[in-house]
Amino acid sequence: MMAAIIIFVSLALLFGLLLGYAAIRFKVEGNPVAEQIDKVLPQTQCGQCGFPGCKPYAEALSKEETEVNLCIPGGNEVMILISEITGLEPKEMDEKVTENKPKETAYINEDVCIGCVLCIKECPVDAILGATKLMHTVIQAECTGCEKCVPVCPVDCIEMLPAKVTVENWQWPEPALKPTDHTVEKNKIGAKK
């Protein structure tokens, strides 16, 4: 009786361990390449690439059905990472995004806002606060700077402004891509704006 219990418990444990190991060893990611690309994408789900989110863009990239330079929030760095993962040729970003601008967030001019809620619907990260016919505002900490709310505003009251550097959000400057990179200069220009 005891022998039977011990044998069966240890058998069950042994097989359980084997299957547990196999579950880790043979873990299936939907598509390894797409998964990898998805990780470097900024996950704003802004849709500026023309795909309905970061994951679909990553999947299209993994099948080499699209260009590497479509992620606007990600900018040059993400474009280079993507081309490294997929092995596709790196491509110039569009004019307006090549400049290495500092992180910008949306600001709503609250005097002009008519409370149309159009920008709220557009915001992919739910960073805009407000209700119909009431003034809206942007939760600065949540805004990813995807600029999707700017074109939809019927009264043009949304402005992209460089995020204020505070003690909380200050970070070491990112390492420059090239030694002669003019990131610093561009940052200065951006700050002046």
Binding site: A4, F15, K27
Partner: protein, 192 residues
């Protein structure tokens, strides 16, 4: 060496598990609509059968017999089979997603493929040793794969031909299986 060849011939042809012993009819009917799927199912079952017959031999000889627990063999074998099937499923999912899609629900159902348990129990009944068990399991699996592929090719051709309406689909498949079984009776008596 000769006895292993005899075991192989016996399990593949003479005592074919599907057509002579009528074990494993579920996947035989279920996954035989397309030859690729049948071949994939056959290969997955081959892997499971060989491994599980060896594993059940080890469990029986080294764990159950010394303690006089032979009466628990069925549950012990099922446990081993389920573990091997689970392992195979994960391995196939990782290595061949296309095959995984094709096999679908029939892959976990290898667990309940009575041929797998049948082989384990027959191994014990015939007092096969380690290598004989492995050969027996592999032979049974090769026989299963062979019959699966033959039957699937037959069904593919039957699908294209003009079958009378009442016989379309499963009925003609069952009749075909019966005819195949009768054909395999021709091997009867070659070995025991």
């Amino acid at each position: 060496m000769q006895e292993y060849v005899l075991i192989l011939i016996s399990t593949v042809l003479v005592n074919n598990f599907v057509l002579v012993k009528f074990l494993g009819l579920c996947p035989f009917m279920g996954v035989s609509k397309k030859t690729d799927a049948a071949l994939g199912m056959g290969l997955a079952t081959t892997f499971v059968l060989t491994l599980s017959s060896v594993l059940s031999y080890i469990i029986y000889t080294y764990l159950l017999q010394p303690f006089g627990l032979e009466y628990l063999q069925t549950i012990a074998f099922i446990l081993a089979i389920a573990a091997v099937v689970g392992f195979t499923e994960m391995a196939i999912h990782k290595t061949s997603p296309a095959l995984y899609q094709v096999l679908g629900i029939y892959l976990p159902l290898i667990t309940t493929n009575c041929a797998v348990l049948g082989v384990a129990l027959l191994n014990v009944g015939e007092k096969n040793d380690f290598i004989e068990s492995a050969v027996f399991g592999m032979g049974a699996a090769i026989g299963f794969t062979l019959v699966m592929v033959l039957f699937a090719s037959l069904r593919e051709r039957i699908d294209a031909s003009d079958v009378p309406a009442p016989f379309k689909g499963a009925p003609i498949a069952l009749i075909t299986a019966g005819l195949m079984s009768m054909a395999f009776m021709g091997f009867g008596g070659m070995t025991h």
